[in-house]
């Protein structure tokens, strides 16, 4: 048994991605698949898309859509951005229709003390971050379940619900009789979100997620089959680790998380104080033995935020050899993230004027 845990509600431990692929029964991303891509989004160049379902088949089609949902339980952090930036790159490369459902209703029903008002604020903040990434408003639709729920989506959820028993969601998600009937219904709504571009626009869909969300994809594939629709595919991204390393960055631990709204000083402080280091205890020892970039969180973050492959390679080598110190590596990480966030925060402000362009209207 590997020393990690992955469910739709929890991800923790040191994740062994090879074991994950076999445990979930997904397909590995192969060289042949990579070759089929017109161009490679950054996280594919870095090897962070490690598994998929049917992505090869979907790439073989002329056009496809991407569905990338947001749970809106908290502010957006760098981990969330990674998947969304990948989606944006795929949109640029393939001209994909991108559908982003905000399942604020699910969060409301799942969390005891979360109000509609609080969720509305969070959704607004999330929307700004997503627009800031540069999605094409002509090819991108947002649906916020409690704001612009759509008759077609509701009806599709009804069609999906008819084909999913309580037994199935119990076995798939571990629901019990004490769960509320909204939470147990929700997989039907999520399947509707995933299948919406297929029903509405006749496009096959791919869903990029952390593999913890795979049960939703499998369920949607079963329902698609029953509704005689093309089964949605999945692409599985590795997790951006939390500052303290391991598992995935979680918005619920502020010390382990960098939010898109953090100031340069906050970013500096968090990385200096919390970012797990692959360096040696003393400078002397570090110069002699070198550091370990493979466990160093600052280095990991660079792999998600530094576009330049060559520069990144040099940093890897220099840190490993001991030529580069942990403090130097951390400074590069701080500068890279702050430079990214400076731009991002500007675009985030500008996004305030453009929200309506993205809201799905009948």
């Amino acid at each position: 048994m590997a020393n990690f845990k992955i469910t739709p509600y929890e991800v923790k431990g040191e994740i062994d991605y090879d074991k994950v692929v076999s445990r979930f029964g997904a397909q590995k991303v192969t060289k042949q698949l990579i070759k089929k891509m017109k161009a490679l989004p950054m996280i594919m160049r870095r090897g962070y898309i490690y598994a998929h379902r049917d992505f090869d088949k979907i790439l073989a089609k002329k056009k496809f859509a991407i569905v990338s949902g947001r749970g809106v339980s908290n502010k957006i952090q760098l981990g969330h951005l990674t998947t969304l930036r990948f989606v944006k790159e795929l949109q640029d490369i393939y001209g994909c229709y991108v559908f982003i459902p905000f399942s604020d209703d699910e969060k409301y029903m799942y969390k005891r003390d979360l109000s509609f008002e609080k969720l509305k604020e969070l959704t607004y903040e999330n929307i700004l971050d997503i627009i800031a990434l540069g999605f094409d408003p002509k090819k991108t639709d947002f649906v916020v379940d409690t704001q612009n729920m759509n008759q077609e989506i509701y009806n599709l959820a009804v069609r999906c619900a008819k084909r999913i028993t309580f037994s199935t969601v119990k076995a798939t998600f571990g629901f019990t009789n004490e769960n509320n009937i909204g939470i147990t219904f929700y997989p039907a709504m999520q399947a509707a979100h995933i299948l919406y571009p297929t029903v509405k626009k006749g496009l096959p869909v791919v869903v990029p997620v952390g593999i913890d969300q795979d049960p939703f994809i499998k369920l949607s594939r079963d329902v698609a089959y029953k509704l005689k629709l093309t089964k949605p595919g999945g692409v599985y991204c590795t997790y951006v680790p939390g500052l303290k390393g391991g598992g995935k960055m979680s918005a619920t631990d502020p010390d382990s998380t960098i939010y898109t709204t953090d100031t340069p000083k906050e970013v500096e402080k968090k990385i200096k104080k919390y970012a797990f280091s692959g360096g040696q205890p003393t400078i002397k020892e570090h110069r002699e033995k070198g550091g370990n970039p493979d466990v160093d969180v600052s280095y990991q973050y660079l792999t998600f935020f530094m576009e330049d492959d060559k520069k990144l390679k040099k940093i890897y080598a220099d840190y490993k050899s001991g030529k580069m110190l942990t403090s130097e590596l951390k400074q590069i990480c701080i500068d890279t993230i702050n430079s990214f966030l400076k731009e991002h925060q500007k675009k985030r402000e500008a996004a305030k004027k453009n929200i309506e362009k993205f809201m799905l209207r009948d």
Copy 2:
């Protein structure tokens, strides 16, 4: 144990309404309650509203709303009309806001072979019947779940769902793990329908139903309490018996049912052939012993469709004494129903132009 069965999914046997009241724990309709009414709708004059929950409290308020849902699993028959005509009379007497949700989504999820297309046809036919009864379009809204589902109603369903566990619906409605997750979610949507006028317009709600639907009312009352809303009240009508007598008229047995679209000839044939008679085997015996209007279905129907109390009383006496034969009683029933349906069918045609006036739009 009384020899009848009443659940939201089945009503059969000889119903003892006194036992029903105590079994369901409702309140009896008392003389004091009757006195509080500004005027009496026909079926209250006939004693067919036999029990209630909080109707006395709601009458004490200045204004109230009525919610009267339609399941749309079949064409409208005389049994359905009875409740709806009662609602229309209450609207006339009290100026009530009337909200009529058509839960076609529930029917779709409940019945294996029912398609959206078939439901759309049935809903259209149902709508014509309801408009034909003369509801005031300024005070009446229809929502068809798969046609004009409304964001506020959806959000209210989400708020209700958060407060209902699977255990509760399992215990209340006898659901099992093999039910689909749409059916198990549906009580939340139904509660939302019932509470909508309270949330939207601040009006207390009364729901007139057969007592088989009482579990939905009780559940809505629990949810209203949790949401700090006025608990909806219920008024319980006796069932219009099927032609063959006993239980309630069911749209699924055409031989036992008169539809609003039946021709005069069909009505004549059905009543002559199937209407259970309280008469004696021979005319001679009938003249001697008299008939039994209390079990005679033709007479029962007159109590629902003949406005004139005096005339009805005379028929009762004449049939009981043997002065009136079964064939004569049946003929009066045929004429009364056909006269009602002739008018109704005219208004039903005219309703085709007025549908949009009744559809709830944001």
